[in-house]
């Protein structure tokens, strides 16, 4: 479903992502982890079509993002970390707008919008302008918008930012059900508990390079540890143990 082949991105002399190759098959929930500035958001933005790779190719649902952008993007749903929206539209109008962008119209659309707004618990405020929404409400609306055209691939940047515990639980449930239907999710996060709990496989990127990729058990083996906690494994693999020791010392 998502295939990155030799993806490279540089900003002048700085290499943000180096020769990244990755395949996320249908039905998998893939977690993408890494320290600050490692290249996670750059990778996510390239998959979402917001940034163009310097070299390499990205395939979404079998379509090359560079050669067939319309087909590739039609299969994609994107949830960014910061929900910048059209503040002067109501929630319903916004979902209609997004559906229109994907060519969805008329038949069954209103029912689907109502269903999605109910799912993200915004049906009570569906006629209100987005500018009056809190950050969490906007994040829920973005989530509903990402599902409105029933994409095969979902790319999510920091799914839990701004969400209350109820919203976080909702997202986890929706993501699992969505993958169970044979769709793919690529999620970048700092919340290691979420990655550990949700993801089938986890990739770790450091300084623009994919240093590890596998299931929790595989990562544990490679980190040469018996710890069940992803945080420990992550810090060991990313060379952040010194930081953890300092933290423990400070505690």
């Amino acid at each position: 479903m998502i295939r990155l082949s030799g993806v490279h991105k540089s900003y002048g002399a700085k290499e943000a992502v180096k020769n990244l190759s990755l395949h996320v098959p249908a039905g998998e929930l893939f977690g993408f982890l890494g320290p600050n500035g490692a290249g996670k958001t750059t990778t996510i933005k390239m998959i979402a079509g917001l940034l163009q790779p310097t070299s390499g190719s990205i395939l979404l649902a079998g379509h090359d993002l560079n050669r067939e952008p319309v087909k590739a993007k039609a299969a994609l749903g994107f949830i960014p970390d910061r929900p910048f929206l059209y503040e002067k539209l109501s929630a319903t109008e916004f979902l209609r707008f997004v559906a229109g962008l994907y060519g969805f119209d008329g038949n069954g659309l209103e029912g689907r919008i109502h269903e999605l707004l109910t799912l993200v618990e915004l049906s009570q405020v569906s006629a209100e302008l987005i500018e009056s929404f809190s950050h969490g409400m906007k994040q829920r609306l973005v989530m509903a918008a990402a599902f409105v055209h029933e994409p095969k691939v979902l790319v999510v940047d920091e799914p839990m930012v701004g969400l209350d515990p109820k919203g976080a639980r909702l997202i986890k449930r929706v993501f699992r059900e969505y993958c169970a239907q044979g769709n793919t999710i690529f999620v970048s996060t700092h919340t290691l508990e979420v990655a550990q709990e949700l993801c089938d496989r986890i990739g770790i990127i450091v300084n623009g390079e994919l240093v590890e990729c596998g299931t929790m058990d595989e990562l544990r083996t490679r980190a040469n540890t018996d710890e069940h906690d992803l945080e420990h494994i992550f810090l060991k693999l990313t060379g952040g143990e010194g930081f953890q020791e300092a933290q423990e010392l400070a505690d």
């Binding site: 933005k45 979402a48 079509g49 917001l50 940034l51 163009q52 952008p69 319309v70 087909k71 993007k73 039609a74 994609l76 994107f78 960014p80 910048f84 929206l85 059209y86 002067k88 539209l89 109501s90 109008e93 209609r96 707008f97 997004v98 559906a99 229109g100 962008l101 994907y102 060519g103 969805f104 119209d105 405020v125 006629a127 209100e128 302008l129 500018e131 009056s132 929404f133 809190s134 918008a145």
Partner: protein, 569 residues
């Protein structure tokens, strides 16, 4: 909370603003240099224009010795009152952003800085932002006074000593008005109200000046014209107003009279008092206003169902993707006060434009056939310029207006080209209506021939497409997705570049059409039909105009589309 604060605290609060400006200057790129150069040139020429106007008027007044002194004093008083009013109005709007909505305020309000110190530092920033332009353009006015009747050094000293406290008073009072408004009404409502009031204020000012027909002042018919002009335009001046004290001080300076003490004391003590009052008021109401500024707008219906149904009806015939963009743009425009309030300014522009033609001297319609048509032809250029000015406000910003929500369009299967063309076709109908009204009405007032009227209407039809194509294309090539309100986009470097490009385009079209128009009119004047050669020139020139317009649409749309597609957001 303590009322006491030290000047050092205020300076410390101002340092980041100063450092931001300094760093911006250090990191200035080519675009910034271009923008500064453009703004600098425009400011200089506008200043020169203001200077020339006042200089000529004062020279003229100087011929009538018995009227010179009272009239000059009256003009000085009008200028002071005008400066006070404009500064006050500008401050009320600026203070809303600087004192209540700036993003850095959350850090400052949560810090242990006394509120009066925070208020005082913000007052300085508000003052600089709201008054620099007014003060800058007052310099050529006073320079004209100083040069026409050689004034002693005391005059410029009096101007400086009077204008500074006058500005402080206007800024402090304006800021207090905003503080009270913010403490009483929700922030968004205050913002919307002020934006509309600001637009109405400008409209009123434009009408007030235009209806007085200042061009009469250039006509040496009667000295009473100038007297009437200022008498009608002048707001009622009271000796209790700071502007009256400033005028007295300036007049005294002009006469080199050493009787300034009273006015100086009044001005500076009032300035100090208003600042202290502002600090005192801040202690009581600032936090309340700031809290309200953080609150969300209460829930309300998204729009009137009737309006919504009408918009749906307009968009119904189009395919889903175009309909989505169109509906979103129309709804946002109708609900965003900063956008629709610009329509008031547009309306004022159109009314003043047509009014100019309606007040042409009554004997103008008897002018020669040639002159009449020449004016009609030049009017075409003027209409094209007005169209460009409207497009820089409404069409050029249409891409940037997507703001930080542009990721939604970018990550969707809508191609950049489809996106740009949807913006293009959204802008075409309203601008076509506007340009046709301008052309037909002004030609009617001019009494232009049918040929010139039709030529103007057809040309402006093509020019509208060109101007819109340039606007959308260049708007895509120079987007500014991060802005506080949409009006800032027109003033960006790209906006200026667009104005230059659009004006050049209109001038080129006019230049190409000048020859066939001349051929045709000459033939008509001589009472002979257009010969074969003439027909070919007319047809050739019109073909070039069509090609020019196709290029003006196609090239920028293609270029802008490529730049936007390659842009990383």
């Amino acid at each position: 909370m303590s009322f006491e604060f030290t000047p050092r605290q205020i300076v410390a609060l101002l340092v980041p603003s100063w450092q931001s400006v300094r760093n911006q200057r250090r990191n200035a790129g080519k675009g910034d240099f271009f923008r500064v150069a453009m703004f600098g040139s425009l400011t200089f020429f506008f200043g020169l224009f203001v200077f020339a106007g006042f200089y000529r008027m004062l020279l003229y007044i100087g011929r009538f010795s018995e009227f010179t002194a009272p009239l000059t004093n009256q003009i000085l008083d009008t200028v002071s009152t005008f400066l006070l009013t404009v500064l006050f109005a500008s401050t009320v709007i600026t203070a809303l952003s600087t004192q209540y909505l700036s993003e850095d305020l959350s850090l400052l309000v949560s810090s242990p800085v006394p509120l009066p110190a925070l208020y005082a530092s913000r007052l300085v920033i508000t003052g600089v932002q709201s008054s620099w332009m007014v003060v800058l353009f007052s310099i050529p006015i006073y320079a004209a006074f100083a040069i026409t009747a050689p004034a002693p050094w005391q005059f410029m000293a009096a101007v400086a000593l009077a204008l500074l406290p006058l500005a402080i008073i206007a800024v402090a009072v304006g800021s207090m008005v905003t503080s009270v408004l913010m403490a009483v009404f929700p922030a968004r409502r205050v913002r919307e109200l002020l934006v509309v009031l600001g637009a109405l204020f400008v409209v009123l000012l434009v009408f007030l000046i235009r209806v007085q027909q200042p061009e009469r002042l250039l006509n040496p018919r009667s000295i009473y014209d100038i007297s009437e002009f200022f008498a009608a335009f002048r707001t009622p001046s009271s000796p209790m107003l700071p502007s009256a004290w400033a005028t007295s001080l300036i007049i005294a300076g002009r006469r080199a009279q050493p009787i300034w003490t009273m006015q100086l004391a009044l001005l500076w003590s009032t300035a100090a008092a208003t600042v202290v009052m502002g600090c005192w008021l801040a202690r009581g109401v600032y936090l309340r206003g700031y809290t309200r500024a953080q609150e969300s707008r209460p829930a309300r219906l998204s729009t009137l169902p009737v309006v919504d149904r009408l918009l749906e009806l307009i968009a119904r015939p189009f395919e889903p993707q175009f309909r989505s963009i169109l509906l979103k743009d129309l709804r946002t425009f109708a609900r965003d006060t900063t956008q629709w309030s610009q329509l008031l300014l547009l309306l004022a522009l159109v009314v003043v434009y047509l009014y100019n033609f309606s007040v042409l001297p009554s004997n103008f319609t008897f002018a020669t056939f040639f002159l009449q048509n020449l004016f009609s032809f030049l009017n075409l250029g003027l209409a094209g310029f007005v169209l460009s000015a409207v497009a820089v406000r409404f069409v050029f910003p249409s891409i940037s207006a997507e703001g930080r929500a542009f990721w939604i369009v970018r990550s969707s299967p809508l191609t950049t080209s489809q996106f740009l063309w949807s913006k293009f076709w959204t802008a075409i109908p309203p601008l076509l209506v506007l340009s046709q009204i301008l052309t037909w009405a002004s030609n009617h007032f001019l009494g232009a021939s049918t040929f010139m009227t039709v030529l103007s209407a057809v040309t402006i039809l093509f020019v509208t497409f060109g101007v819109v194509g340039l606007g959308v294309g260049m708007g895509a090539a120079f987007p500014k997705f991060k802005f506080e309100n949409v009006t800032q986009i027109a003033g960006s470097a790209g906006g200026l570049l667009y104005m230059i490009a659009a004006t050049t385009f209109v001038a080129t079209v006019l230049f190409v059409e000048a020859f066939p128009a001349y051929f045709y009119l000459s033939a008509q004047y001589r009472g002979v039909p257009l010969d074969g050669r003439g027909m070919m020139v007319v047809a050739g020139a019109m073909s070039i105009v069509v090609v020019l317009n196709v290029l003006a649409v196609w090239l920028p749309m293609r270029w802008g589309g490529r730049r936007l597609a390659a842009m990383e957001i």
